[in-house]
Amino acid sequence: MTAKALRQPASLRIVSGAFLAFWCLIAAFPIAWIAVMSFKSPVDAFDSNPLNVIFGPATRADGSGWSILEIGLGLAVIWVTARLTVRRAPPLVASYSPGGYVALGWIVAAVLIGLGFVLVFFGLLPLVTDLLNPILGPLGRDIIGATTEHYQTVWIERGFIDNFRNSLIVTTGVVTISLTVGTLAGYGLARSGSTLAFWILIIALIFRSLPHSVLVAGYLPVFINSAEWLAPILGENAPTLYGKPAAVIAVLVAINQPFTIWMLRSFFANIPADLDEAARVDGCSHFKAFRLVIMPVMWPGVITTGLFSFLLAYNDFLVTSLLLDASNQTMVPAIAGMFNRETTTTDQVVAVAAAVSITAPLFLLVMVFQRQIVSGLTAGAVKG
C-alpha cells in the first residue's frame, strides 16, 4: 500500500526532474564555460555567440585545433587511465606496499599514475596524431579550434609554477600540523566531558566566527617588526616573519583549529568509549590507547577533516595576499595580481587559464573524495 499511496503524479515527477536538470546546469556551467574559454584565442573566448566559443573558428584559422582522431584518442587515454586507477591500482598497491604503509604506497602510485599520464598525453599522443592526421583525410582535419598556448604562458612565462610550489608548501604544512594538533585536542575534548572542555569548545566557536581580516590586522604590525622584538631572544639572525610561508602556515593552522577540533570531536564521540576503556584495563596509558586502539579506526574522520583543512589553506586569499611577499606568493593571490594589470583580452584569457589551473586539482579532489566531503558536511549538523 505504501508504494502506491506515495507514488507521485507524472506532472510532479516531471517538474522535479526538470528542476534537478536546471540546477545541475547552473552548478556546472560557469566552471565548464571557463574551462572551454581557456583553450580559445581571445577573439573566440569573448565572442557573444556561444557556438563560436565552443568551436573556435578564429582559433582554428590560426592553425591550432583538434581533429576527431585527436579528440577520440585523448578521451580514450583519459578513460583508460581512470579505469586503471579504479580497477587495477588498489590490489597492486595493497600487494606491493610493506605492511602498515598503505598510505605511502598510494602516494607513490598517485605520482606514478600522474607521471605516466603526462608522458602519454603530452609526449606520445602528439607524435602519434601528427603521423596519422595527414593519412586519415576528413577524420584528421581540425574540427574544433583549441590551443594550449595560454597554459604555456601562465605556467612557464608568468612563473605560475613557483606559485604552485608555494601553494603546495603552505597546504602541506597546514594539513599536517592542524591534523596532528587537532586530533589530540579532539580526542581529549570528546573523552573529557568536563565543564572546562565545554568552555573550550564555546570559545573555539566564537573564534571561528571572527573575520580573518581582524586577525590579520593583529598580525601585520607584529610580523613586520618581528626582527626587532625577536632580537633579544634569537640575537642577530632574528627573522622578519612577514612574507615567510612558515608564518602563514602557523596563522592558517590557528585559524583552522576551531573548526578542526569541533569536527574531529564529533567523529571521536562516535567511537564507543568502551574501546579505549578496554585498552586501559589491559594496561595501556591514555596515549598508548589513543595511538594503538583509537587511531586505526579514526582514519575516515581524519581524512575528512584533512580535506577541509586543505580546502581552507588552498582557497585562502585574504591571509596569503596580505602576509606573503611577492616571491612567496601562492596561486590565488597571484591570479588577483594578474587581472589587475590586464589590459588586453589576451591577458584576460591567460587569467582564465590560470583560474582553470587552480580549479583542476579541486575537481579531482571532489571526484576521489566525494563520500568523505559529504560525510564532513553532515557530521557537524546531523550528529549534533
Partner: protein, 340 residues
C-alpha cells in the same frame, strides 16, 4: 580523564589558538586606540640668495621628520582614544547626511556604505540559500538512485571552488560582451551595462553567493531527509494529508534544527563577505566591512598601511559578530545545561 592528561592532549591546540587568535585580538584592540606616526619637528630655515649689494635672506618655518642616529625616520606611538574610530565612522558627515535626509550623502561615506551592503547582502541571501537548498535537497531525494551520485558530484563543484575563482568565473560570463550579457541583451532587447552601476553588481554578487552556498545547505538537508520518520508520513497519507501538507507539517518541522544550523553558519559567513568584492572587482561601487579593513591593511602608494584605522574598523566589524553570536551561544548553553 585526569586534568593532567587532558591538558597534554588539548595543550598544543589551546596554545596555537591563544597565540594566533586571542593575542592578535588584544593587539587589534590596543592598536585601535593608538597611532604610530613619524615624529615631525619644525625648524627655522634661512634661505639666502645672492642679490645686488647684499644677500636677500628669507626665513621660513619648515616641517620635517626627525631622524635617529642610524638615519631612519623616528616614529612614535601616541594614545589617541576614540579618535581613530571617529576617523573611520566620520560621524560629522554622518549626522550632516542624516539631517539633510540625504541617502546619497550617507552612501558616500565608506564605512556606512560598507555596513549597508554587508547587512543587505546577509539578509537577502539567507532566505534564498535556505529555500534553494531545500528545493535541491527535495529533488535529489526524489531522483532515482542511479543519478544521485553524479548529481551530488556536480552540486559539490560550486561549493568546493575557490571563492575568488568562483566569483571571477561568474564575472567572466557577464563581463563586457560575455555570454550571459549577450543572452540577456537578446532576451530583453536592450543594451545592458552590468558593471556600470552598483545594484547590478550587487545582484551578481548575491547570485554568486547563493550558487556557492546552496549546495552545502542542500547536502545537509538531504542527509536530514533520510531520517524523516516514515511511519508518521504514512499515517499522514491515511489521514488524507496532501503532499504540500505533509511537507509543511512533517518534513519541515523535522528539518527545523538543520535549518537553524545552516542559517547560523550562513549568517556568520556572509557577514564576513569579502571575496566577492575582489572577484567582481567591485571596489569602485560596492564594498563590504571586511573589505574595508583589508583596504586599510594594503599598502598605499607611499607604502604605508593604516594599521590604526584597520584595527578600528575591525573592532567595529566585531560588534556585528557579537550580536549574531548571542542567540547561538544562548542555545548551546541551554543544550549543555539540559544534557547534565
Amino acid at each position: 580523564m585526569k586534568p593532567k592528561v587532558f591538558a597534554a592532549f588539548v595543550g598544543p591546540s589551546i596554545f596555537m589558538m591563544l597565540l594566533f587568535i586571542a593575542f592578535p585580538l588584544v593587539s587589534v584592540f590596543w592598536n585601535s586606540f593608538v597611532v604610530t606616526q613619524p615624529v615631525y619637528e619644525t625648524v627655522e630655515v634661512e634661505n639666502c640668495t645672492a642679490g645686488f649689494l647684499e644677500q636677500t635672506c628669507t626665513t621660513e618655518m619648515e616641517t620635517r621628520p626627525v631622524l635617529d642616529e642610524s638615519g631612519e625616520i623616528r616614529r612614535q606611538t601616541e594614545f589617541v582614544g576614540f579618535q581613530t574610530y571617529q576617523n573611520v565612522l566620520e560621524m560629522g558627515r554622518f549626522w550632516e547626511a542624516v539631517k539633510d535626509r540625504s541617502w546619497t550623502a550617507l552612501q558616500n561615506i565608506d564605512f556606512w556604505k560598507a555596513l549597508r551592503f554587508t547587512l543587505m547582502f546577509t539578509l537577502v541571501t539567507l532566505p534564498l540559500v535556505l529555500g534553494v537548498g531545500l528545493a535541491i535537497a527535495l529533488v535529489i531525494n526524489n531522483a532515482s538512485q542511479k543519478i544521485k551520485g553524479p548529481v551530488i558530484f556536480l552540486s559539490l563543484l560550486p561549493f568546493i571552488i575557490t571563492p575568488v575563482i568562483g566569483a571571477l568565473s561568474i564575472n567572466w560570463l557577464f563581463r563586457g560582451d560575455g555570454i550571459l550579457t549577450a543572452f540577456l541583451e537578446w532576451w530583453l532587447e536592450q543594451d545592458l551595462a552590468l558593471f556600470a552601476q552598483a545594484w547590478t553588481i550587487e545582484l551578481m554578487m548575491m547570485f554568486y553567493r547563493v550558487w556557492h552556498v546552496a549546495p552545502f545547505a542542500a547536502i545537509v538537508f538531504y542527509a536530514g531527509l533520510q531520517t524523516v520518520n516514515q511511519d508518521s508520513l504514512e499515517s499522514a497519507v491515511i489521514d488524507g494529508a496532501s503532499r504540500w501538507q505533509r511537507l509543511r507539517l512533517i518534513v519541515i518541522p523535522h528539518l527545523a534544527p538543520l535549518l537553524i544550523f545552516v542559517a547560523m553558519i550562513h549568517l556568520m559567513d556572509t557577514y564576513r563577505v569579502f571575496e566577492e568584492v575582489v572577484g567582481f572587482r567591485a571596489e569602485g561601487y560596492v564594498i563590504s566591512l571586511q573589505w574595508l579593513t583589508y583596504d586599510f591593511l594594503t599598502p598605499d602608494q607611499a607604502g604605508n598601511r593604516s594599521i590604526s584605522r584597520a584595527s578600528a574598523s575591525a573592532m567595529l566589524t566585531m560588534i556585528g559578530i557579537a550580536i549574531l553570536l548571542v542567540p547561538l551561544l544562548k542555545r548551546t548553553w541551554r543544550d549543555h545545561k539540559g544534557s547534565h
